[in-house]
């Protein structure tokens, strides 16, 4: 077997292992004893799945904003002349979209798991809890970002303007996610326990399960992100392939050697 075959085997083995771990952690999350202090202790497990989502969502939001910044920041001061510059900027845009798409997925998951949790613990699905509202507004920002992207046909304009919007949104989002729920008058009205995690009240088996889920979902996110970036770069290549120039008027990368098929011919 050649190297490629070996690598593929390793890849598949890793994936199988990961799937196994996912199953193990899921089952484990059902084995830990019920939590006290909740209205429906047996359903407090929802927390294991609800908690990692906003963490990843916030992380991806700032990562996406950073990539948007990198996309824009080269333009100031000098014009983009060379093809490599242009390609690099397009890459930053792809990375930003990848991070933000994944972040949006986690945002939706956060909202749904949060609603479920609220339903079982307090009987109502929406309470205008400050954190709940903050993440709803974050979801609106995401929605606006993707709506903005669909409104441009020119890829350069699309990338630049959506990057600008993300940068404009960073500050309101920081305020919403970090400052607002911690304001004194707001914290009192909140159903979210801001102190319990900081003060280490989550101990023992619960802490372990939560950490395990966080680690697993983070690994999954990184993998999905890289896959999405690869999809984006492939799409970019496919667009320019077989044409004389790219959208931006730069010469398209011409195939010097016969292009290799990316799908396995066997």
């Amino acid at each position: 077997m050649d190297l490629r075959g070996h690598l593929e085997n390793l890849n598949n083995a890793l994936r199988a292992l990961f799937a196994l771990l996912m199953g193990v952690v899921t089952v484990w999350s059902f084995q830990v004893p019920d939590a006290v202090g909740f209205q429906r202790p047996e359903l407090a497990r929802i927390f294991f799945w609800h908690f990692p989502c906003p963490l990843l969502l916030t992380g991806l939001l700032f990562v996406g904003s950073y990539f948007s910044f990198r996309h824009l920041v080269r333009v100031q001061g000098f014009r983009v002349e060379s093809e490599t510059d242009n390609r690099e900027r397009q890459l930053w845009d792809i990375r930003a979209v990848a991070a933000l798409e994944l972040g949006f997925v986690f945002c939706v998951l956060t909202m749904i798991t949060g609603i479920l949790f609220s339903l079982v613990q307090w009987g109502v699905w929406w309470q205008w809890d400050p954190r709940q509202t903050s993440f709803l507004l974050a979801m609106l920002v995401y929605g606006a970002y993707f709506a903005l992207r669909t409104a441009f046909t020119d890829p350069e304009k699309r990338a630049a303007n959506s990057a600008a919007y993300m940068l404009a949104a960073v500050l309101p989002l920081i305020f919403l996610i970090f400052v607002y729920p911690r304001l004194p008058q707001v914290e009192q009205a909140s159903f979210h326990p801001t102190q319990s995690i900081m003060k280490g009240q989550i101990k023992g088996a619960y802490a372990q399960v939560v950490s395990a889920v966080i680690i697993l979902t983070t690994i999954l996110s990184v993998w999905l992100y890289r896959l999405r970036v690869r999809a984006g770069t492939l799409e970019l290549l496919a667009e320019d392939y077989g044409q004389l120039e790219t959208h931006g008027g730069h010469p398209a990368p011409t195939g010097v050697v016969r292009p290799v098929s990316l799908s396995d011919p066997h």
């Binding site: 824009l72 441009f152 600008a164 919007y165």
Partner: protein, 230 residues
């Protein structure tokens, strides 16, 4: 060097002012919208004593004022950039001015517009509904801070969508998520001003609004400068 900046900014500002005064369409639209909306809201609140303590109507009033100002702004403010694209004068602007100056000139004009709209809405709203303002300074500071933030954010969103499809509606749609934290702060402030919330909370909200405005106006020119050549 600084006189160069001031001259450029004032030039852009004067150009906006003159264009608007010639056609007056923005003023008329904003004014008409404010008037019609306030009348509608007052009608909806008919026979209700808004000032009755514990009725919760003061909180609703506080919210409604902001909603009217927000939507009137969204209708009107993006026009400063959208019209440039539609009328084909955008490239001329890029030739003759620097991005920061262009942004500041347009924002200054938009601040004027929003303050005008906010004043009109306040007068009409307080007049028609008879709401009493217990703590006037919170009201005024919240209004000014909120108006400046709104101007900064909506102007920037107008610049971002200037070359997009369906730009007029899109500008408003993407500006609203950025402004909702501001609306939250503003309503808190206004509830305190109408006497239904804690004065301490209102003070904090008013200060927060001014800070929000300062930050929005500070980062706006930089973001605009990054995209204005596209």
């Amino acid at each position: 060097m600084s006189s160069g900046w001031k001259a450029e900014i004032l030039a852009v500002y004067r150009k906006e002012l003159q264009t608007e005064l010639r056609s007056k369409s923005g003023l008329v639209t904003a004014g008409l919208f404010s008037f019609v909306t306030v009348v509608t809201i007052s009608l909806v609140l008919f026979n209700k004593n808004v000032n009755a303590p514990g009725s919760g109507l003061q909180d609703i009033s506080a919210g409604l004022v902001w909603v009217v100002i927000l939507f009137a702004s969204i209708l009107n403010l993006p026009r400063t950039f959208l019209l440039e694209e539609e009328q084909g004068t955008a490239d001329l602007l890029r030739l003759f001015a620097r991005p920061h100056a262009v942004y500041w000139g347009k924002v200054l004009f938009n601040i004027l517009q929003v303050l005008g709209t906010a004043t009109l809405v306040s007068v009409l709203f307080l007049g028609f509904t008879g709401t009493r303002v217990s703590v006037p300074w919170i009201y005024v500071v919240s209004l000014i801070g909120g108006s400046c933030s709104m101007a900064g954010a909506v102007t920037l969103c107008g610049a971002i969508v200037a070359q997009a499809a369906n730009r007029a509606a899109l500008a408003g749609a993407i500006a609203v998520p950025l402004l909702l934290p501001l609306v939250q702060l503003g309503v808190t402030g206004m509830r305190a001003a109408f006497g239904s919330g804690l004065v301490g909370g209102g003070q904090a909200a008013a200060v927060g609004l001014v800070a929000y405005a300062a930050i929005m106006l500070a980062i706006g020119p930089w973001i605009y400068a990054a995209i204005w050549k596209t």
